[in-house]
Point group: C2
Chain length 128, copies 2
């Protein structure tokens, strides 16, 4: 692994909440001056491919990612105000989860779930 990829990964791990490629790139440039955009895009693609980054929606046309070292199956909860992210266990009931899927003849192989809401800080700010 190259120095750049390592430092990009470290920057990603240090991001607060969800981020765009552009934001990650800016952050990584603090540590790697002259870092090319393409390099960041390629690093993001690699990390997304191996599950180290996860897509959690988009903001104004830009894909949002989160650092996601935890390899277990889980989902993300995004604060719609500040972008803070929390990982949560899969809340889908195990066994008969997809009864309605079976009813229509489908076999479920994968699912994407993302929760949106307000973190405690932003909720309090809102009430103020």
């Amino acid at each position: 692994m190259s120095r750049q990829r390592l430092l990009i990964a470290r920057s990603a791990a240090g991001m607060h909440g969800a981020f765009t490629v552009e934001e990650l790139h800016r952050s990584a440039q603090d540590v790697v001056p002259g870092l090319g955009v393409a390099t960041t895009y390629r690093a993001v693609a690699a990390m997304a491919g191996c599950g180290t980054l996860a897509v959690v929606g988009e903001r104004e046309g830009r894909t949002l990612y989160v650092w996601c070292a935890n390899g277990e199956h889980h989902h993300h909860l995004i604060c719609t105000d500040c972008g803070r992210v929390a990982g949560i266990d899969c809340p889908l009931p195990e066994g008969d989860a997809f009864a309605s899927a079976r009813r229509v003849g489908f076999t479920v192989t994968r699912h994407d779930l993302t929760l949106y809401g307000l973190c405690d800080t932003c909720r309090e700010d809102g009430e103020r």
Copy 2:
């Protein structure tokens, strides 16, 4: 509502499974020769805004939509082979669904869930 929007909506309703804007546009052009791409994009934005269309992922950089006349809260199950779509009830347990969310101080306001799998036809084709 203009003739074009009506016919675009009708085309969307008639699409088999998930579709891109481009595919919808081609389909709508069969009924509205000379239809502009921008018109289709604007119609899609309007329909997505009022919930008549739902986003269900993407294919090669193009956003995938499904026709979604059912106003009730529900989710979609997409066949990864043929793109066929089935609407399903929300499988998230009502009451204590988001215990882990509360545990991290979040209030959940919204969630996106999309299931992927194989429809009966494609599963049988695969086994053959």
